[in-house]
Symmetry: C2
DNA sequence: ATTACGAATTAGAATAATTCTAAATTTTGA
DNA sequence: TCAAAATTTAGAATTATTCTAATTCGTAAT
């Protein structure tokens, strides 16, 4: 098992030829590297544009294919805000997403220590959760004072 | 302020001519009535088909317009699961949504008493949340025993 | 090396939910 | 009653994503 949590300028060729049962092709490496390179939450098209810089021949269809492969093998998360186009996140830690309505930018938000779903929701007994998505929208904090003088 | 929380076979003509600053036209009444009639989470097209039964001339564009008007005036909530088509929910109480992967059906899920967002998430100081959407997916509970003998 | 085969990539077409446009209708209220 | 504004409507447009079918690639056997 490889640590994919680093943030330091990943080189696609550092990835082994198979991760979590997924063959790492040149294109999949590139897409994964693009996602690990910046901790933002790019759309498929963003990923396509960034991938093209280093791999001029990659196609948008391939980017979609790669993202779907990476997501289904849990190497990357798909993030949705309402009906906007999907975004992709390489942060595998337990977290959710906040979108600043000013900038449209998405920020990772973590749970406080020890918070578990069953602690906060009333779920029918035996319910088995496969997927959880928490999406917040609003305005980003002005550190301390809120009013404009 | 009108109680829209009842569940008893609503008659569109019972609604006043304006709610929350929104003029209640014949079509908007009908769409709202459709949503209040069943506590499921229909798509725009579902709403269209149901509305057509009582109002043969209503158009899909109008259903979209009405839903958007009702949502923006907080008479109805829009519910999204990943990239599926939007669904609409007349339950204005604080709740989130669980989709049973077997049936595709969506169920309302409420929070345990007194649970507040700030209690469970680490948010930058001053962050102001306008919208919150929690979507769960998984398998519905087998009442008591989980194992099959 | 050559070949064969399955997997992956690709360009472009297709899909489908939603939004837009512009004309017709309805409602409002002077 | 009449003009202005709002709403509805049919159909076209949009656009993110998926699909199709052809090509290329990677691997392993010969
Ligand atoms: Mn899954
Ligand atoms: Mn809002
Ligand atoms: Zn994230
Ligand atoms: Zn609901």
């Amino acid at each position: 098992m490889i640590s994919l949590e680093q943030n330091t300028n990943p080189d696609p060729s550092d990835f082994p030829s198979e991760i979590e049962g997924l063959r790492m092709t040149k294109q999949r490496r590139e897409v994964l590297a693009v996602l690990l390179a910046e901790r933002d939450h790019p759309t498929a098209n963003d990923v396509f544009l960034r991938s093209q810089q280093r791999m001029a021949t990659i196609s948008l269809a391939t980017v979609y294919n790669c993202l779907e492969a990476l997501v289904s093998h849990n190497l990357v998360r798909q993030v949705n805000f309402e009906r906007e186009s999907s975004r992709y996140c390489p942060n595998l830690a337990d977290h959710c997403h906040f979108q600043d309505e000013e900038s449209g930018k998405i920020h990772d938000v973590v749970f406080k220590d020890g918070v578990k779903l069953e602690d906060i929701l009333v779920l029918p007994q035996g319910t088995d959760i496969n997927h959880l998505e928490i999406s917040l929208k609003g305005h980003f904090g002005q550190s301390k004072n809120h009013k404009t003088p």
